[in-house]
């Protein structure tokens, strides 16, 4: 919590500045969209956090999102298979991707960067080849029920009358539930502790009797499964999917959200609340740029700068804290020496 104060301040600042600069920013419609997209990025941010905590990385998320987003309508519409088969396929593809990443990284000791970079290319190519680069849509009636996933809470059965249900996206709800589950897993179970320990020091964790291989595979599987879910939700939300570009760079946004939220790419650190803030900040920035009439082309530049500033501020604060601690310890030592 304490760690995330900096990013919380930036978030509030950007929010207020945009609200002052643009009247349409605080419209219900815009805010709904903002919260929904933030939640979607937050969901895949949670996924990649598991991998980052082990000290790894997953670059294949965007391509995996593209692959499941294409495969689903391809099976259900083009091949006229039942919806359940399509959903099962999403699950199977994500599971297979996660397991193979984990096995290659632990058993063959390949670098996560390399393994998932290959995944990035492989999944993208498969998605494009499967439909010969044709755009796929989610307009068909078969998907109507699933679209609840990206609708308003008030559209859920039995939730019409709940207060505020019209303003809250279902995606946000899913994100919150997923976030709570992930936070419990990381902080309250022995497996979460295993991940944090092995992310800091895999050898010491192994020497403490932890099956680090299994835990690392679990982390990649969780990441891929959440990406699969995220892919489905993104696809339902966007409605029209270009096989060559859908999901591009999403992994980088997810990684950025995790890093902004306090994950160290060295591993062993991460808070789910921070990731939520990171994802929200990124979506907010994208939204603010268009609301404030800043040139669209500058969007990546602005986001890049904000992340950089956030990381620099974090590092500076850490150094000051370390210095203070050293001074304190030296003082204690002298005091002890004098008293003895």
């Amino acid at each position: 919590m304490k760690k995330n104060i900096g990013i919380l301040c930036i978030l509030l600042f950007v929010f207020l500045a945009t609200a002052l600069g643009s009247s349409s920013f605080i419209s219900a419609y815009n805010l709904f969209n903002l919260v929904e997209r933030s939640a979607l990025y937050g969901i895949i941010g949670i996924g990649v956090a598991f991998v980052i905590i082990t000290g790894g990385i997953d670059l294949s998320i965007g391509s995996l999102i593209g692959l499941v987003a294409i495969t689903f309508p391809f099976l259900v519409i083009t091949k006229e298979m039942p919806l359940a088969v399509g959903l099962l396929a999403i699950f199977a593809i994500s599971l297979a991707a996660g397991v193979s990443h984990g096995l290659l990284i632990t058993k063959l000791k390949l670098q996560p960067f390399v393994v998932t970079l290959c995944g990035l290319m492989i999944y993208r190519g498969l998605a494009r080849w499967m439909v010969a680069d044709k755009t796929m849509g989610y307009g068909e009636p078969q998907f109507e029920n699933l679209k609840l996933l990206v609708g308003k809470v008030s559209q859920l059965p039995g939730c019409e009358g709940l207060p505020g249900a019209k303003q809250i996206p279902v995606a946000f709800l899913i994100f919150v539930v997923l976030g709570i589950l992930a936070a419990i897993f990381l902080n309250k179970t022995i497996y979460g502790r295993y991940l944090l320990a092995l992310g800091r020091n895999e050898q010491a964790a192994r020497f403490s009797g932890i099956n680090t291989t299994a835990m690392i595979i679990v982390a990649y599987v969780i990441c891929s499964l959440i990406s699969g879910l995220g892919g489905l939700m993104f696809a339902l939300d966007y409605g029209s999917i270009q096989p060559d570009s859908f999901g591009n760079f999403y992994e980088l946004y997810a990684i950025a959200a995790a890093v902004l939220g306090g994950c160290s790419l060295r591993g062993g650190e991460g808070s789910i609340f921070g990731i939520a803030l990171g994802a929200a900040l990124m979506r907010l920035l994208m939204n603010s740029i268009s609301m404030l009439g800043i040139d669209d082309q500058l969007e990546p530049t602005v986001i890049g700068m904000v992340i950089l500033i956030g990381v620099i501020a974090d590092e500076v604060v850490k150094r000051i804290a370390a210095k203070r601690r050293a001074v304190l310890q030296a003082r204690q030592a002298t005091a002890e020496a004098n008293s003895s």
């Binding site: 179970t189 502790r193 020091n201 010491a204 403490s208 009797g209 030592a333």
Partner: protein, 507 residues
């Protein structure tokens, strides 16, 4: 030797060095004459390495002065130290083993010819330098193809190439064979005769006796005494190092060994194929494992702890054969290991004391659905902090900020909480101050009394002599001998450790 009215070559006066939480050196003095071999001895943590780093320009002292040829100098970088003719040869050699011998000797000071490295000159000068250290290899040999003893000679050649007048050697023989050690001694004696001075740091008192013109002893960061050539004796050195009667320091009580707790039969480790190890450790018994660095001791412990798989052979715990394919299996079988590389393998530095102590027991104490058992973890931590007297502001303190001794206590604490039957310790007191060291010895004693079987690897002769009921000596991957308590002596161990099995019956 220093002429009576001549200034010493090197003089250290009143040097103090503090680190956060510890004063490593307190007003220490040291003098070195021309062509003198000075042995600097002391227990781990006595401050030898710190002083050497100061002399080599790696660290600067907080107080005190250093003079070369009677003129005070400030050694603010390795380069400055080298300009004054001081070169340090680290215990872990500092060579780029992918480069050839010549390139290593001139690394960072390559002679140039029209902007390119002048290989011909490197070769020419290297041949000359190699001759001076008695090393008969081509300067084009890639360093990793040389045995460790020859690599060390390359380091010495490099030191000579900068015209070093003071050569500091930190534990130079810790990984050398008997033959290589003798060769090194010849080189050192030859250098002395040419007027090069040597500061020789070693734990091997036998070597010190053979080589040194004078001995300076450090204890707890202070001068403990000096011995002239004629008064150098094993007992005097130990007394000065330990500062008290040795029999008190190692508080050994004889204990009655119980049933066999660990039985190893024909164990072949992946690191030393073809050598079969067989031995046993009984309950309440402390068995030391001595040998040179690289003798296969750590590798053996790793197999016993399931880190590496055994190639062949059997391991029995309390009479039952066990299959150890991971540390988890070993822990289940009642085995614990405090590893040599404490910071990499023993603890998670960035985690709190409490989380480190709880780590091995998480699974054992877990609640339903894998939830953490915070109560148990808290109780275990509290007990260990109290029992081991871990000096920490709180159980939430990040282990990184504890002293080496307290970090080691955290390692021991996490294993004691698991109540092991067999405790494996790899260099249990390395880098630990003398107070914590004694506490660890007392703890080993206490555990043995409670029936734990202890197998400990140590490169510190005094520790082996002081602590073990029985000693296994390893040489090049095999157990070259076993010494009972009444057969134990530094000479007997060194004979076995360097592979002179035949002579042991004589001594």
């Amino acid at each position: 030797m220093t002429e009576p009215n001549e200034k010493p070559l090197l003089e250290v006066a009143g040097v103090t060095k503090r680190f956060p939480g510890v004063t490593a050196l307190r007003h220490v003095n040291l003098t070195l004459g021309r062509g003198e071999v000075l042995a600097l001895i002391g227990e781990n943590g006595a401050g030898k390495s710190t002083l050497m780093k100061i002399l080599a320009g790696v660290q600067e002292p907080d107080e005190g002065s250093i003079s070369v040829d009677g003129a005070e100098v400030r050694l603010d970088s390795v380069l400055t130290a080298q300009k004054h003719g001081i070169a340090l040869i680290h215990q872990e050699l500092n060579l780029s083993d992918n480069l050839d011998v010549g390139a290593n000797i001139f690394l960072g000071r390559e002679p140039l010819k029209r902007g390119f490295i002048d290989k011909a000159k490197i070769r020419e000068d290297s041949v000359d330098l190699l001759k001076r250290v008695g090393l008969d290899v081509s300067p084009d040999t890639i360093v990793e193809h040389l045995p460790i003893g020859q690599q060390q000679l390359v380091e010495i050649a490099r030191a000579l190439s900068i015209n070093a007048r003071v050569l500091i050697m930190d534990e130079p023989t810790s990984s050398l064979s008997q033959h290589e050690t003798e060769r090194l001694f010849e080189v050192v004696k030859d250098l002395r005769s040419r007027g090069v001075s040597v500061i020789y740091i070693s734990h091997r008192l036998g070597e010190v006796k053979e080589l040194a013109d004078r001995v300076t002893v450090f204890r707890d960061g202070e001068n403990a005494g000096d011995l002239k050539r004629e008064s150098i004796s094993h007992n005097r050195m130990v007394q000065l190092m330990v500062g008290r009667d040795i029999s008190q320091f190692y508080a050994r009580k004889p204990h009655e060994p119980g049933a066999v707790a660990l039985e190893v039969k024909g164990l072949e480790t992946p690191a030393n194929l073809g050598h079969k190890l067989s031995f046993s450790v009984r309950a309440s018994e402390i068995v030391g494992v001595s040998g040179l660095v690289g003798a296969g001791r750590t590798e053996m412990l790793h197999v016993l702890f399931g880190v590496d798989a055994a190639v062949s052979g059997t391991i029995e715990i309390a009479g039952k054969p066990v299959q150890l394919s991971s540390p988890f299996d070993a822990i289940q079988a009642g085995i614990a290991l405090a590893p040599e590389d404490r910071k990499q393998q023993g603890i998670v530095l960035e985690m709190a004391v409490r989380q480190n102590i709880g780590l091995p027991g998480l699974k054992k104490h877990q609640k339903r659905f894998g939830f953490l058992n915070n109560l148990q973890e808290g109780d275990d931590t509290e007990e260990m902090i109290r029992r081991l007297r871990i000096k920490t502001p709180s159980e939430r303190q990040i282990v990184q900020y504890l002293s080496g001794g307290n970090q080691q206590k955290v390692v021991l604490g996490k294993w004691l909480a698991m109540k092991p039957k067999v405790l494996l310790l790899d260099e249990p007191t390395r880098g630990i101050d003398i107070g914590a060291k004694q506490e660890i010895y007392l703890l080993m004693e206490e555990l043995a009394e409670q029936g734990v079987a202890i197998l400990f690897v140590s490169s510190e002769m005094e520790e082996i002599l002081g602590m073990s009921d029985r000693t296994l000596v390893m040489h090049e991957g095999r157990i070259s001998g076993e010494l009972k308590r009444d057969e134990l002596s530094e000479e007997a161990i060194m004979q076995l450790a360097t592979g002179n099995v035949a002579e042991i019956s004589v001594t």
